[in-house]
Amino acid sequence: MNPYNYLYVAGLLFTIGAIGVIVRRNAIVVFMCIELMLNAANLTLVTFSRINGTLEGQVTAFFTMVVAACEVVVGLAIIIAIYRSRRSASIDDASLLKR
C-alpha cells in the first residue's frame, strides 16, 4: 500500500483536531482534539520512519506517547479543578489572565 496515504490520513486528523480546538468551547472536547493532533503527528513520524527505513521516527513516537500521557494527567487535573471551582468546563469562561 502506498505509504503516502498514511500521511493524508494524518493531515486529515490534524486538521480535524485543529478545527476542534478553535471551534469547540468544552474543555474536554478541546483536550481530545489536542490528542487527535498529537496522534496525527505520531502517525506522520511513524510513516516517515517507514518510508526512510530508519527507526528514529518510531522511537520519537514513543516519546510523544509518554509526553501525551503525562499531559493528559496534568491537563485533566486542571480541567477538573477549574470545573470544581467555577462549575463550568467552558474554556472561554477561564479568560482571567487578560485582567
Partner: protein
C-alpha cells in the same frame, strides 16, 4: 616692582567682618555693627600705612604687588591671583575705606531701629571687600571677581528691605542691568586673551603696543559697556534711580565710595588700551556727554530728594567718563573729580538721610521746607557739599569740574567747542537742580504736616557728615595745588601724561569765568523759580510735555521696556513654544506612539485560549507556507 605681603589685609579685614557677621547669626546682633565698623576702619588704617610707605619710596618704586596664588595654570593660559597697589589704586583704597568707614559709623545710628542691622553691616563689609578687590586686582580676571562681588553686594543692599516688592524689584533691576555690563567685561577679557594672550594689566599694556587697532577698539568698547553698567552710564543708566530703594547709607556708599566709581576706574586703569584705540575713546566721550546731560535733566524734575541726588550722580559720573575719554590729558582730572565727588556726594546723601530721619522717612522735597532752623548741622554740611558740587570756589568741585571743562575745550577743534559747551551746559543745569534741592529742603517756607517734628540727627550721624563736608571744602584745593594729584598719578599713565596744558582754546582764567557764569545762571534761575515764588506741596500736573518726560526719567524705562524687555519676552515665549512643540513634541510623540501601539496590540491578548490557539495555527501555517515558498 616691590613686592609686599600685607596688601591682602586690606581686603581680608572687611571680608573677615562680613563672614563673621553672616556666620555668627543672631548671636552677633549686639556687637555686629561695632565689628563691621572696626574692620572697615582697620582696613582704612592699613591703607594709610601703605600710603605712608609709598610716600617714603622714590617715584618709580611706589607701585607694589603681591602674588597670592597661581589661579589658573593651563598650558598657555597662566593667571596668577595677584594684587597691585599703585598711585591710582591707593586713591581708591583710601576713598573706599575712608568714606566707607564714615558711612559705617553713620549707619550705626541710622539703622539702630532695624532688627537686621547686623546683616546690614555684613553686607556693607562685603561691599567694601569686593570693591577693594576690584581696585587692587593686578589682572582683569582678578578685577572681574571684585566686579561681580560689587554687583552681588549692591543687589543685597539695594534689596535690603526686600519685604517691599517694589524694593526687591529695584534690586533685581540693578542686578540685571549690571549683568549686561558684566557681559561686556567678560567679552573684553576674552578678546584680550584671544588677541593679546594675557589678561594681566602689565601684560596687556606690554602687548597692546604691537596689537592691531581693531582688537584694541573691540576691547575698549567692551570695557566701556562694562563701565556703563557699573557706573550707570548711557545706555545702562536706568538702574541708578531705582537703586534708591536701599537704605540711605547704601545710596551714599554706592554713589560716592564704591560701585559707580568702578566704571571710571576701569577706563582709567585701561588707559593704555584707550590711548591706542581712538574710536573707542570717542565713544567713551560721547557716552559721557550724553549721560552728563541725561542725568542733569532728570535731576531737575525729581521731587524725591534721593532720586534728585541719584540723577546728579549719573551726571557727575558722566563728567568723569567724558574726561577719561579725552585721553592722557583727562585721566588725572577724571580721578580728581571722582575723589572730590566722593566727598561731597557722600556728604549730601548722608545729609539726605539725616533729613529723612528727621521727617519720618519722607523723601518728597515738596513736603519739606524751612528745615534750616531745625537741622542746622545738616543744613551746613549739606550746604557745603552743595557749594562743592555746583563748583563755587574754593570748594572742591570748583577745581575738579573746572579742569574737566578746560580739558573738554582743549580737546581741539569743533569737538572741543562742542564738548566744552556740553560741560558748561551741564554746569548750568547742575547749579539749577542742586539749588532747587537746597531751596525746597532748607530755605523755602515749610510745607510739612503739623504732626511732623523735624529734629537734628544724633552725633553718630552728623559726625561723618561734618568730616565729609571738611573733605568737600578742602580736597579740591589739596589736589589742585601744584597739580599735586596729576603729578602723583602720572607714573600710572606713562610718560605722555605730562604734555597737557599745551594747546589752549581759552586761558584757564577764562574757562573759570565761564564756569562761574554758568553756575550763576543756574542758581539764578532756581532762585527765581523756587525761592521767590510759591512752591506747591503737590507736584503740579499741568506742566509741559518736557517736564513730564523728564519726570519719567526721560522715558528710559519705557524705552528699555519697549526695545529690550518686550521683544525679549516675545523671544522667550517663542523659544518656550518651540521647546514645547519641537523638543517636547518629539519626546512626547515617541511616548504616545509606544502607548498607542501597546493599546492596539493589547487587544490581541484577549485571554481566550481558543483565539491564542487560532493565532498559533495561523502563525504556523504562515511559517510553513513561507518556508515552502522559499524552498520551492
Amino acid at each position: 616692582m616691590v613686592t609686599s605681603s600685607s596688601l591682602i589685609y586690606l581686603i581680608a579685614l572687611p571680608l573677615f567682618g562680613a563672614l563673621t557677621l553672616l556666620l555668627a547669626g543672631r548671636r552677633a546682633d549686639k556687637w555686629g555693627h561695632l565689628l563691621g565698623t572696626a574692620m572697615s576702619a582697620s582696613s582704612f588704617g592699613v591703607g594709610l600705612y601703605q600710603l605712608s610707605q609709598m610716600l617714603s619710596r622714590p617715584t618709580e618704586e611706589r607701585a607694589i604687588s603681591q602674588k597670592l596664588f597661581t589661579w589658573i595654570d593651563v598650558a598657555s593660559f597662566q593667571v596668577d591671583a595677584g594684587l597691585l597697589l599703585d598711585q591710582l589704586s591707593i586713591c581708591f583704597v583710601l576713598l573706599i575705606t575712608g568714606v566707607g568707614t564714615l558711612i559705617h559709623i553713620y549707619s550705626i545710628s541710622y539703622m539702630s531701629h532695624d532688627e537686621n542691622r547686623r546683616r546690614f553691616f555684613a553686607y556693607l563689609n562685603l561691599f567694601i571687600a569686593a570693591m577693594l578687590l576690584l581696585v587692587l586686582g593686578d589682572s582683569y580676571l582678578t578685577l572681574y571677581v571684585g566686579w561681580e562681588g560689587v554687583g552681588l553686594a549692591s543687589y543685597l543692599l539695594i534689596g535690603f528691605w526686600n519685604q517691599k516688592p517694589a524694593y526687591a524689584t529695584a534690586s533685581k533691576k540693578a542686578f540685571v542691568m549690571n549683568r549686561v555690563g558684566d557681559m561686556g567685561l567678560s567679552f573684553a577679557i576674552m578678546i584680550a586673551f584671544a588677541t593679546l594672550g594675557t589678561v594681566s594689566f602689565a601684560g596687556v599694556k606690554e602687548a597692546s603696543e604691537g596689537a592691531s587697532e581693531t582688537a584694541l577698539t573691540a576691547i575698549g568698547i567692551m570695557l566701556l559697556v562694562a563701565a556703563a553698567g557699573k557706573s550707570a552710564q548711557f545706555p545702562l543708566q536706568a538702574w541708578l534711580g531705582d537703586a534708591m530703594a536701599g537704605p540711605t547709607p547704601v545710596s551714599a556708599l554706592i554713589h560716592a565710595a564704591t560701585m559707580v566709581t568702578a566704571g571710571v576706574y576701569l577706563i582709567v586703569r585701561s588707559n593704555f588700551i584707550f590711548d591706542a584705540a581712538p574710536t573707542a575713546q570717542l565713544i567713551v566721550v560721547i557716552v559721557g556727554a550724553i549721560t552728563l546731560l541725561f542725568g542733569a535733566v532728570i535731576g531737575t524734575a525729581k521731587d524725591d530728594i534721593k532720586k534728585a541726588l541719584a540723577a546728579s550722580t549719573m551726571s557727575q559720573i558722566g563728567y568723569m567718563v567724558l574726561c577719561a575719554g579725552l585721553g592722557p590729558a583727562g585721566y588725572a582730572f577724571a580721578i580728581m573729580h571722582l575723589l572730590t565727588h566722593g566727598f561731597f556726594k557722600a556728604g549730601m546723601f548722608l545729609g539726605a538721610g539725616s533729613v529723612m530721619h528727621g521727617m519720618n522717612d519722607s523723601v518728597d522735597m515738596r513736603r519739606y521746607g524751612g528745615l534750616r532752623k531745625f537741622m542746622p548741622i545738616t543744613f551746613i554740611t549739606f550746604g557745603l557739599g552743595y557749594l562743592a558740587i555746583i563748583g563755587v570756589p574754593p570748594f572742591a568741585g570748583f577745581y575738579s569740574k573746572d579742569l574737566i571743562i578746560e580739558t573738554a575745550f582743549n580737546a581741539g577743534g569743533f569737538k572741543g567747542i562742542l564738548l566744552g559747551s556740553i560741560t558748561l551746559l551741564g554746569a548750568v543745569i547742575t547749579a539749577f537742580y542742586m539749588t532747587r534741592v537746597m531751596i525746597l529742603t532748607f530755605t523755602s517756607p515749610k510745607r510739612w504736616e503739623e504732626n511732623q517734628h523735624p529734629h537734628e540727627s544724633p552725633f553718630l550721624m552728623w559726625f561723618p557728615m561734618v568730616v565729609l563736608s571738611i573733605g568737600s571744602v578742602t580736597s579740591g584745593l589739596l589736589f589742585y595745588r601744584g597739580d599735586a594729584l596729576a603729578n602723583w598719578l602720572n607714573p600710572v599713565f606713562g610718560d605722555h601724561g605730562k604734555d597737557h596744558h599745551e594747546e589752549h582754546l581759552f586761558e584757564p582764567i577764562v574757562v573759570s569765568a565761564m564756569a562761574l557764569t554758568a553756575v550763576a545762571i543756574g542758581v539764578g534761575i532756581a532762585i527765581m523759580k523756587y525761592q521767590l515764588s510759591e512752591i506747591e506741596a503737590v507736584a503740579p500736573q499741568n506742566v509741559s510735555i518736557f517736564t513730564r518726560i523728564a519726570r519719567k526719567d526721560l522715558l528710559q524705562d519705557s524705552f528699555n521696556e519697549s526695545v529690550f524687555m518686550r521683544p525679549g519676552q516675545a523671544l522667550t515665549r517663542l523659544l518656550v513654544k518651540g521647546d514645547e512643540n519641537v523638543v517636547d513634541g518629539a519626546v512626547r510623540g515617541i511616548g504616545r506612539t509606544a502607548l498607542g501601539a501597546g493599546a492596539t496590540l493589547r487587544r490581541s491578548q484577549s485571554g481566550f485560549a481558543r483565539s491564542y490557539a487560532a493565532l498559533i495555527l495561523i502563525g504556523a501555517v504562515v511559517l510553513i507556507a513561507g518556508i515552502w515558498v522559499v524552498t520551492l
